[in-house]
Symmetry: C2
Subunit: 206 residues, 2 copies
């Protein structure tokens, strides 16, 4: 990886642990293995490093959203994927979603950084809102909606069902971010949540 990119990587790690203001350009440089003034050959100043991280993340999101849309909007693929959805595969969906968010290194660091910095300006708040509220609800809402269409789940209010699916996942995620030792406990809770969710919304009534 070239220096320019390693700077972003190390900076993100530090920002996610201590927050922008508590990270010194010196710290970043040290991690990268260069001296602080050399950073300025790559970025105009400290703020520019932060901005570059946000930019990069936006790009990743774009790509991701793009690929999801292709999947999500193509009816032929969806039919195949969700036709024979059952309890177990729904639980797998929830778990893999959780574990991806939890362990994907980049995602995790970015989420923590955003958590710390979210009140600094409107833009960051908006990014957070989009990433951890609007997009998950709309994307998962689409998936769950498909399951409703398939008769796997039953409800007259998909958005709220989606909230019931996602909100516990989100809450458990924040718990693990704060204290990774609670991960095992959280996973157990997650599993129970998903089973209960399935009981509540599953076609058990039929």
């Amino acid at each position: 990886m070239d220096t320019k990119h390693r700077i972003l990587d190390e900076a993100l790690t530090l920002f996610s642990e201590k927050g922008y203001a508590n990270v010194y350009v010196n710290d970043i440089a040290e991690r990268v293995g260069i001296k602080a003034p050399s950073l300025y050959k790559h970025y105009k100043n400290k703020q520019a490093i932060f901005d570059a991280i946000i930019d990069e993340m936006n790009n990743r999101f774009m790509e991701q959203a793009g690929s999801l849309n292709i999947n999500g909007m193509d009816p032929t693929k969806d039919a195949d994927i969700y036709k024979n959805m059952n309890e177990e595969s729904m639980i797998e969906l929830g778990k893999s979603l959780f574990l991806y968010y939890l362990h994907d290194d980049y995602t995790k660091r970015f989420r923590k950084m955003l958590t710390i910095e979210q009140f600094h300006d409107k833009d960051l708040a908006a990014v957070y809102q989009s990433q951890y509220y609007d997009m998950p609800l709309s994307y998962q809402g689409m998936l769950l909606g498909l399951m409703v269409a398939q008769g796997v789940l039953v409800t007259d209010n998909v958005p709220i069902m989606t909230l019931h699916f996602y909100a516990p996942i989100y809450l458990l995620l924040t718990v693990c971010d704060r204290e990774p030792k609670r991960e095992k406990e959280a996973l157990k809770t997650l599993e129970e949540h998903l089973r209960q969710f399935d009981k509540l919304y599953g076609r058990t009534i039929a």
Copy 2:
């Protein structure tokens, strides 16, 4: 309010908006209406102001927990309160809980500050965990458990039911903290959540 206390108050406001590191003792002093060096007549240094806020909050929590226990553990009072619990009063419970958390000035500022500073040290993480995960789940679990005992709600897993009750409330709260303009929307979602919760767990099966 005496100066010593006004300092804490203004500091909390600022910390909750910008985070500890981005608030200058100067800012605090200005708000209080004194000069920065005068702050040091009341607190040893900036960190001591922060610590005093945490202390004060801990005290409040103690009191609160104490009073809640008296209510919560006294079987005579509970019976009266939850005997004729119905859908509407359960929804009122959820809404008032949400609105209290959302609008109580002290609570709100403290929550935002804790959100920003939670990764700074173990202690703060623990406070957050306790305040926004463990305690709400155990306290609300007790209330909802009583309702189950009364036959108002039905489940074989009270903790998960409680998670289903609380997690959406928590999520919506973080949304409003970030963008207060979404409060109206959040309130609507909250109401739907509670109605749906009641449908799912209410004695509709009987």
